[in-house]
Subunit: 451 residues, 2 copies
């Protein structure tokens, strides 16, 4: 099953998904005697860990994205195909796109996960998630429009609703979003309004279990909570959302039912595998976990197909821990999985093999705001300014393209000293109450000549 | 008519539009004993002269925008109101917004112009213009998708259509867009594709009269044309567009009718006053010119209302030149008009007056691409690298916020040395053939923790 083509043309590797897993797999194959085709619906790799910075006006989408073609332009054995895979044929060694069919010798699927609403999809329009650039711009628009609406609102109770932000989910996304929102409200926007006092903004972070950052050790969760509260965020643990409506959120804490009046709910909870999980399960017989992720073999292949791999967030890798707990859905896992599979493909072509995949955990990092973060290196846990510096360094280090690193560094250096957030644009034509933003405005119109 | 309120509360200045004219007027009033309210439909000032850089992936929208509130945050006598003015009452001294009424003592209207299609509005969806951030992102999407479509197209004639870009209008916008597009196709994307050769891209600039950059002296027009042709742009003068369809553009050159097969048409021609022009004409009796611009008095007031001013692109100021030709619709005119009106308001409050407005023309600049520009300083005309440096300097100098200047400088420095354009994202959910870009993608999804 794992062999060269009959006509001895190079081994064809098809990778579906240009996130951390897929892109790192493609790059790690640069010296292998293979042809790589990387398929993605989008034309860019997104540095998703910084998406919350776009949602809060600190960075522009272009700052945290790299065109896939640019990243792979010098890798002559790799090509990029913009398109969407809708089916695979494991027997026929083919992936099916909307308008074409592509043969493969080895297939790597890395299409990740999206957020979901625990069976309450009707909440989606009221509480946008944060997975795509469009999601982030929608969050940014709602956050900024809420302050504009509050400035114009004369009813004090309604104004309070506009100035209350509820974030659902106390994982890294929710924590980082809450911290950035606190800085936006309490520092950046402080001087900007004349009627409202933005220091009256309420930011409420809801988490269903008893502490924030559940994947981290308990002491770091406690530090994160303290840091958030220091920034002005109200952290409510053991709080389950039971309803989301236009005027507020209903939560249950133990026996207590509580209403939080708010106009802005941001969703940072729930995870559901992308549709490719089901496609793979149906065609290969691979088992899925409850979230729809594909349970993979110790070498990241699936079911009886040694030439089909699933990596990154879409994979459930239960072989590392004794209790069968899957590896966490974080970028470093995806990167290492991508590199492992690339390595395995290369070895196999030389009739060699590799021991099963093992994730090397170098630690975890989460940022809580300007000057505060928590770091868990396994042998050491620390928080505060040093952790924040570590976080900055790591994030900039992993930004794929050098010019992005430079831009983000300048942006951050500047934001750090001025507490300014420059990318505070309300864009996208979609109409949302209460302010109608028209698609075409007929002002700020100039010719291109300028002295 | 020009007096303090009966109750001696400060003189109320209402400014409609936060472009160059409106924003400069607001800022120039910072020492005047007045209250300023700046109304805009959007929450940011757009540095419109650089919008073509967004359309071609060189800059992000956030890089060329400044939140109006941030720009005016320290000016304690100014406030910003996000909203849309739909009518004015010159007798009652009121402007009417959708949901409120605002009194004024002095009104400044600076809502600019938009593009139009010479009575062929059906061309709008086929040939997007370049006036708003959304316009620029739509252009960027079409340009980048055209290359993606060409890469996948097997029919050579159709591929040619995807690789042909037609820009309608040889003014500064068209010229700068053509130059940037040439750099994108012939340098930036050169290594990025495997099937197509982007050097086969055709960029055709159509101009209705006999030379590009009509407002400039003929010798600079000739130099601009030579620079464009050196970059690989085909410049066709005396070419009138008679039809735009899905598969191409029909033009007439003298007696000749010609078909240009193309999938991408970019509109950089035509100008029409914003609706406020008509509102002012109806309520004050001010005359409009053929493009709908308000013909203003020598002090920029309108009709018999000494406390209503129209400035910027929306104003037709016919008093400077002997032939009655209006001042050009460029940023420096708008800035100087804004400052003049601010100054006049301040003087009148001290029972002083000012001589009529006069525009001081320090020259014009247009850029043709990396390393080439044309400059007309009146006493000197030059082009080439020196002109390019002057253009860079002036554009960065006028970027409103300092952090934007820094970012744009780093971006440009980097782009200059690498010919890289980092902001090459295909975004916005709107579906456009031939590639369906789905709103939500379910990949590239990561948790926010990262070692």
């Amino acid at each position: 099953m794992f062999k060269q083509n009959p006509n001895q043309s190079p081994h064809q590797v098809v990778i579906v998904g240009g996130g951390f897993g897929g892109l790192y797999a493609a790059q790690a194959l640069h010296k292998a005697p293979v042809n790589v085709t990387l398929i993605d619906k989008r034309n860019f790799h997104l540095f998703q860990p910084l998406l919350y910075q776009v949602a809060t006006g600190g960075l522009s989408p272009g700052d945290i994205s790299s065109p896939l073609r640019a990243v792979l332009s010098r890798q002559k054995n790799a090509k990029v195909l913009m398109g969407e895979v809708i089916d695979i044929d494991p027997q026929g060694h083919q992936v099916k796109l909307k308008d074409k069919i592509l043969p493969y010798d080895t297939l790597i699927v890395a299409t990740g996960v999206s957020h979901h609403y625990f069976g309450n999809d009707q909440w989606a329009p009221k509480a946008p998630g944060l997975k795509t650039v469009e999601d982030a711009l929608e969050m940014r628009r709602r956050i900024l429009l809420a302050f504009e609406a509050a400035e114009q609102e004369t009813d004090s109770q309604k104004r309070r609703g506009w100035l209350t932000f509820v974030i659902v989910g106390g994982g890294p996304t929710g924590v980082e979003l809450a911290g950035a929102l606190a800085e936006l409200a309490y520092s950046t926007l402080k001087q900007d309004f004349r009627t409202i006092d933005t220091s009256e903004t309420q930011i409420i972070l809801l988490e269903g279990i008893d502490r924030v950052l559940p994947p981290y050790p308990a002491e770091l969760s406690a530090k994160a909570k303290a840091s958030l509260e220091h920034l002005g965020v109200k952290v409510q643990t053991n709080a389950l959302v039971t309803n989301i409506e236009d005027e507020g959120v209903t939560i249950r804490r133990g026996e207590q039912i509580e209403q939080i009046p708010t106009k802005t709910v941001l969703w940072a909870a729930g995870m559901k595998a992308s549709v490719m999980g089901e496609v793979i399960s149906k065609s290969t017989g691979a088992k899925l976990d409850r979230a729809g992720r594909v349970i993979v073999n110790p070498d990241l292949s699936v079911a009886d197909y040694s030439n089909i791999f699933v990596i990154g967030d879409l994979a459930n890798f239960p072989h590392q821990f004794e209790d069968g707990k899957p590896l966490p859905g974080v970028a470093p896992v995806a990167m290492q999985e991508g590199q492992y599979v690339a390595n395995l493909i290369h070895k196999r072509l030389n009739d060699e093999t590799l021991p099963p995949f093992r994730y090397s955990d170098y630690g975890s990092l989460a940022v809580i705001g300007r000057n505060a973060a928590v770091v868990d290196l396994g042998f050491a846990k620390f928080s505060g300014f040093l952790a924040w510096l570590a976080w900055i360094f790591v994030h900039i280090f992993f930004l794929i393209e050098f010019d992005n690193k430079l831009i983000v560094m300048v942006q951050w250096g500047w934001s750090y000293f001025t507490r300014n957030r420059g990318a505070r644009l309300i864009t996208t034509p979609e109409v949302w109450p209460p302010m109608v933003v028209e698609e075409k405005r007929d002002q700020e119109i100039r010719d291109r000549a300028l002295i």
